[in-house]
Symmetry: C2
């Protein structure tokens, strides 16, 4: 069996960290006798510079012909003057999500043992640890709802966006949240704003209905404003957080920052046939691009998740995760994870990749 992976490294630190993920994938292929073919495609700002648009047809076609997409990151100051629709993030990520109907986004945020001091939370809170998974609906809600636009003139000119959810859209993402919670701590916290939004009222109804099929999973509802607060006081009490598109955008970033180590976090975006896009959660970090100091771990873990979820290569995925775990506990850390007086011990991007590949 031979697999096809579309590699979209993108902008900023994307290409650097992708190179390390490729090293690790190569070692994994050898050890597990996998046959994987990689095709590289331009995306984001890099694609704007070369082809005039952030998601060229060739890239989309290449992804269609693949089993999964390994994505780096897109965006940077160079393209910020462009109209929102033409910018790398909106012009590449949103169409990819829409085109492949990647409705299910999962962003785990776990405080790694030994890295509690990285969390911006008070030590008595962070020392309790936490392990939260944000399950975010990714192809509907106010991101894609129609109508969206402008009308009127002068000071009366209005802009409008539509938040829209159907029962079936809510049901399919809620199901995944409950199924995933069964393999974890069996708790789903559904985030909404049912005291204001009609979409949230329907959201609650459907989530309650889905919950009936999962009597072993505890369900609680929380308003988005309160969720943002409670995560600061008692992050350890959350397990799976089920969110609509917009609320998931906010919650997933908040929990990522609560770990204080965004360079370790990956994000999965999947459709119902197992096709997915795998990417680091941290963004393109243009400020540190090209210096060889970016943390490649999130990109490497994205590759592991790709192996697990889209290629069903559980053993290979576990091997990568174990190697990453060992590297971190061996003290292999990039600079941003070290206190300033320890930074002389920082490993470079490629040292991290080499070490993890060699552990496979």
């Amino acid at each position: 069996m031979s697999y096809q992976i579309a590699v979209l490294a993108g902008d900023g630190i994307g290409p650097e960290v992708m190179a390390e993920a490729r090293k690790v994938l190569k070692a994994t292929e050898e050890r597990f006798a996998l046959s994987i073919e990689y095709s590289e495609y331009d995306v984001g700002g890099a694609a704007i510079d070369k082809h005039g648009c952030p998601l060229p047809d060739a890239t989309l076609k290449g992804c269609e012909a693949s089993d999964a997409i390994l994505f780096g990151s897109v965006g940077g100051p160079k393209w910020e003057h462009l109209a929102p629709n033409d910018q790398p993030e909106r012009g590449a990520l949103l169409p990819l999500r829409g085109h492949f109907e990647l409705f299910c986004n999962m962003r785990p945020a776990k405080l790694h043992a030994g890295l509690e001091h990285m969390s911006p939370l008070r030590s008595d809170i962070s020392s309790r640890g936490f392990d939260v998974l944000c399950v975010r609906e990714l192809t509907s809600g106010i991101y894609f709802g129609k109508p969206k636009g402008r009308q009127g003139e002068g000071e009366d000119e209005q802009a409008f966006d539509t938040m829209r959810y159907s029962r079936k859209e809510i049901r399919r993402i809620a199901k995944i949240a409950f199924e995933t919670a069964q393999g974890r701590r069996k708790k789903v916290t559904s985030v909404d704003k049912a005291n204001v939004l009609a979409c949230s009222v329907l959201w609650r109804e459907v989530v309650e209905d889905v919950a009936k099929d999962f009597p072993d999973v505890e369900l609680e509802h929380i308003y988005i404003d309160n969720a943002t607060m409670q995560l600061l006081r008692r992050p350890d009490e959350f397990d799976v957080m089920l969110c609509s598109n917009l609320f998931g955008d906010i919650i997933s970033d908040e929990i990522a920052m609560l770990t204080g180590s965004m360079g370790l976090l990956s994000s999965i975006s999947m459709n119902s046939s197992g096709f997915g896009l795998y990417e680091p959660a941290g963004g393109s970090a243009p400020d540190i691009a090209g210096q060889g100091i970016a943390n490649p771990v999130a990109q490497i873990l994205s590759a592991a998740l790709l192996l697990r979820h889209s290629l069903k290569q559980e053993q290979a995925a576990t091997a990568i995760e174990a190697a990453v775990g060992k590297a971190l506990s061996d003290g292999y850390l990039t600079g941003e994870l070290l206190a300033s007086d320890q930074r002389h011990q920082a490993k470079s991007t490629s040292e991290m990749g080499d070490y993890i590949a060699q552990l496979i």
Copy 2:
């Protein structure tokens, strides 16, 4: 000159903390020879129980006949089974905001000297202190946008909400943010999601335009997801945060929680003629209601803000704020602000009110 204040104590701890605010107001009236008349009206769950609806006509009429509203808090488990529209929060607060066009909501969140340990943030972050003011648009956006509702049947049934902003709605709240920043640290951070929302693109345009009239104020734009994150790492770098209705709901709660002392925070909701609703930021806290342990400071500070902004009694407002400051630095604290081994020193709700009143 005689003033008229509508007092809406509401549910939970509302009546208890309101009683203390009344004590302090009485002392202030005496010292500054003010003549204020108070009329009490039912609101929220209390009004549902007595009159069958959370915002009876008599309450609305009473507010119309007043110079300002001193609001306690509404809501509690007793009314949570009701349909969203009939619940105390949505059924009272939103109509009051809409009816009086209280478009401007200001929620200050300041880490009080000596109370840094209350913040859930890591001590090296909280020790730098912070003083953030959320200026939130309160009568438009997705809260009030039409259409809002449901359509279709079965699994295809959809719910929808409309986020809508006009140039003039954005302009009037942006102006207030910039004016307020001039009296503070001269920085406005405008929070949006311009990479996804048409409303946010218009929001940015108008905010940039308003900024031209305030060359002494620095303007930065930040996406809501990133704002949620950056507040955790560097809260001290924010001054005024300008937000739409929904994003302001989230940001104001996040910054309130970052202080760790919600019982000290008030919220102003004003219209363009100076009429306003003044309330504690913390909510009705039904779990501690009736025990005499709730912190009345936020309610007392709400009264001070009412004196300043709606009655233009700056001296009286400052006197209350000074008395509160002195009480806190004298170690007059309610239990939730004390470490568990210090709780035997906790002051009761009425001890706090008595002490502050006597300091006036």
